[in-house]
Structure formats: C-alpha cells, structure tokens
C-alpha cells in the first residue's frame, strides 16, 4: 500500500510540474483531482466539525446512565442552535433561483457578525496594540536596551509614522509632509522587497520538500 501511495503522490507531483513545459492533459487531470479532492475535504471536514460537532451534538447531546439508572444528557441541549441551522439552510437556498433571494438573510448575518467582530478586534489589535508597540522607550531608569534595540526602535517609529503619512492622501504631498511621505515610500519599498524575498524562500522551501520526496522517498536516490 505504501508503495502505491508513493507512486500516486509522485504521479500527481510530476503532473503539476508538467505545467512548467506547457498546459497539458496530465496537468489538467491533476488540477481537476485537486479541485475535487479539496472540495470534498472541506465538505466532509465542515460537516463533522461544524454541522455534526457544533449543531447536532449541541441540540442532541450524547446520553449516559447516571447512578440511579436514569438516562441523562451529558450536556444541556442548546435549542438556540436550531436558529443557526435554519440560517444555514436558508443560505443553501441560493441554489434555487426562484427563492434564492432568501439567502440574503444568512448573508446579512455573516456580514454583520464579521463587521462587528472586525470593528472591535482590528481596532484593538491592529491599531491600538501596533501603535503601543511602535512607540517604545529609548532610555529610562531601569530600562536596559542595547544600542541595537534603540536604533531598531527608532527605525520602527520613523518607518511606521512616515509610512502612515504616505497613505494619507487628504493633504498634498508637498514640503515637509511630502518629504516625510517620500521616506515612507523608502520603508514601504524595503517592506515589499523583504516580503517578496521571504515569499520566494517559502516557495523554494516547498519546492525543496517536493524534490526531496521525488528523489528521496520515491526514487531513493538521496537520503
């Protein structure tokens, strides 16, 4: 079985890489398998985790026998979950063109919940916490930062502030404001370059993993 598995995995890996030559039936076959398997994976996973695990076991919990021989639920049934299931069902009505508009209700719920959640959490974690981490002390009694950290903290404070100035388009980028915005661009360019380099290296790492599989696990030429 292990042997077949290796051949299947190798066949699929090489099928994907065959796209480097050109679009071909082998690649398209592997792509179609990927789409079908991914869809099935999420279909099954969400059923067992959310529909069964969250809804079904929430409304109809498992039962057990207590000391007096009575059959009791292991947890209190939560009938409010039925509302969630109804909303979920309404979402699926999107597939029925005549009454598809009803799916706007669960969609409105999702949008409202996401908006409410993001409004608070993004402001708290991505604005307030980031501002707090940007304005760090440089010197002070009982504060022992190295020169490396002090320079780094100054770089972060200047870079964040000037970067934000660059994104402020309500005022024309002229004079001192324009100069600060230009410094902001420098920092943004370094960020994009570093992010690019980091992404390339992570993809390379995946590529090395696949090559290791092909030449090591499958062909047995290395390792």
């Amino acid at each position: 079985m292990e042997h077949i598995a290796l051949w299947v995995a190798a066949f699929l890996t090489l099928g994907i890489y065959s796209f480097l030559y050109k679009d071909n039936p082998w690649y398209k076959l592997c792509e179609a398998i990927f789409v079908g398997i991914s869809a099935g994976y999420w279909f099954v996973t969400l059923f067992w985790d959310n529909i069964y695990g969250k809804f079904w076991l929430g409304v109809f919990p498992d039962t057990t026998t207590n000391a007096t021989g009575e059959i009791v639920y292991v947890s209190t049934p939560d009938y409010w979950l039925i509302v969630g299931a109804v909303l979920g069902f309404l979402m699926l009505l999107r597939l029925v063109p005549k009454i598809g508009w009803i799916s706007r209700w669960p969609l409105a719920f999702i949008v409202g919940a996401t908006a409410g959640f993001y409004l608070i959490n993004y402001f708290s974690s991505n604005v307030m916490a980031q501002v707090q981490d940007t304005i760090m002390p440089l010197f002070g009694v009982g504060y022992n930062a190295s020169v490396y950290d002090i320079i780094g903290n100054v770089v972060i404070a200047v870079g964040t502030f000037t970067g934000l100035i660059y994104f402020f388009f309500s005022k024309e980028h002229k004079g001192a404001f324009g100069g600060a915005a230009r410094v902001g661009i420098f920092f943004l360019m370094i960020t994009f370059g570093a992010a690019f380099g980091y992404t390339v290296m992570s993809r390379m790492s995946l590529l090395i993993g696949r090559m290791d599989f092909i030449f090591g696990d499958w062909l047995g030429l290395i390792g």
Partner: protein, 216 residues
C-alpha cells in the same frame, strides 16, 4: 422587505458584537455566544454552498459536453470519492490510518504543496523580468529582497564569513525583517485596520449595502 430585513439583521448582529466587547454581561455575552455558534454553522453552509455550486457547474459542463468536460467528471469523481470515504468513516475520519487520511496525505498534500511550490518558478521568472534598479526606490526593493533571500540560505553566511557576526548576511536579513520591514508592515497594517473599521461601521449603520446585491 428583501432589503430591509437583511439590513436589520446586519445592524443588530453587528451592534451586538460591538456592545459585548464593552459590556460582557447578560444579555450581550449570551447573544455573543449564540451568534458565534450560529456563525460557525452558517459558515459551514456557505462553504457547502460553494462546493454544491461547483458540482452543479461540473454537471452542467458534463451534460452540455462543453470543452474539457472530461475533467468535470474527474472533479465529480474525486469529490465523491473523498466525501464517501469521509462520511463512511464517521467522526474519527481524521485519525491516523484511515482511508481519508491516506487520501489527504498522498493526494491532497502532494497536489497542494506542488501547486504552491510551482509558484517559485513563476515568481523567479517574473522577478527576472520586472526587477530593474531604475531608481532609488526600486533599488531599495531589489536590495531588500536580495539580502533577505541570500540571508536565509547557508551560502549567504559563507560569502560573508570574514565579517563580524552582526554584519553577516543572515544577521542583516534578520535586522531587515525585524526593523524596517516591521515598520512598513505596521504602517500598512494600521492603514488597513482603519479602513476595515470605517467600512465595518458603514456596513453596520446600513450606509454600505453592496453585499445585498441589486434588486428590491
């Protein structure tokens, strides 16, 4: 009614999520728990909707014998294969040694990692064509990418082994990632967050209605 009810739902749910942060007591804490549970159920159904739509389109392609309809059959068969296995194996479908895990390990994982790894070639080719040190900004971008990439592999330190530790390429790459990169990333993050906060507020107050689509 087709627009008013969704607007009401969006507003109420959004306001409850905001209020429960400031007033984590009854009834807002209870409503928050309900809404969070409902959210995960509706979220699952939303992804189911996408999957069912994929099947619908695949069946249409097969029925109408459209171009590449044979691959639509592969999609449906792959979907059915993993779904039947996953449902048949019950709650323990993810346990080690199950057929579902076999499909995941030997089909899904090789395909997904190869699919992402292939991007390395396209990124390399695109950067070769696009990366030119035309001006100071482009040079900064080029140098940052160069130092980060070279600093992440052993040859980077080999090339700079004659220099003190702090000036070796791996240290330089770490410094770029920790400080200037963090600064730019933070500016972008704060900008995005402020945009999300204002858009969320517009959605909750019903000013932004594009998610409801057209029609009455």
């Amino acid at each position: 009614m087709r627009r008013e009810i969704p607007l009401f739902i969006t507003g109420v749910v959004g306001i409850v999520f905001v209020l429960q942060y400031f007033i984590p007591h009854f009834p807002f804490n209870k409503m928050n728990a309900w809404f969070s549970d409902w959210f995960s159920i509706v979220q699952a159904c939303a992804i189911w909707l996408g999957v069912l739509n994929l099947l619908k389109i695949s069946f249409q392609n097969i029925g109408r014998r459209k171009d590449d309809w044979g691959y639509a059959i592969v999609i449906v068969v792959s979907f059915l294969a993993i779904s039947i296995v996953g449902f048949a194996e019950g709650e323990a479908f993810r346990d080690s040694g199950t057929s579902f895990t076999w499909l995941y390990d030997y089909i899904y994982t090789p395909l997904s990692s190869s699919m992402f790894a292939i991007l390395a070639f396209f990124v390399a080719s695109a950067s070769y064509r696009a990366f030119r040190a035309r001006n100071f900004e482009a040079t900064l971008l080029l140098l940052a990418a160069f130092f980060v990439m070279l600093g992440r592999v052993p040859i980077g330190d080999v090339l700079t082994s004659f220099m003190p530790d702090q000036l070796q390429l791996s240290s330089l790459a770490t410094w770029i990632m920790n400080f200037p990169q963090t600064a730019g990333q933070r500016a972008i993050m704060i900008g995005i967050a402020l945009g999300i906060v204002s858009t969320s507020l517009r959605i909750i107050l019903g000013v932004e209605r594009s998610h409801l689509g057209g029609g009455d």
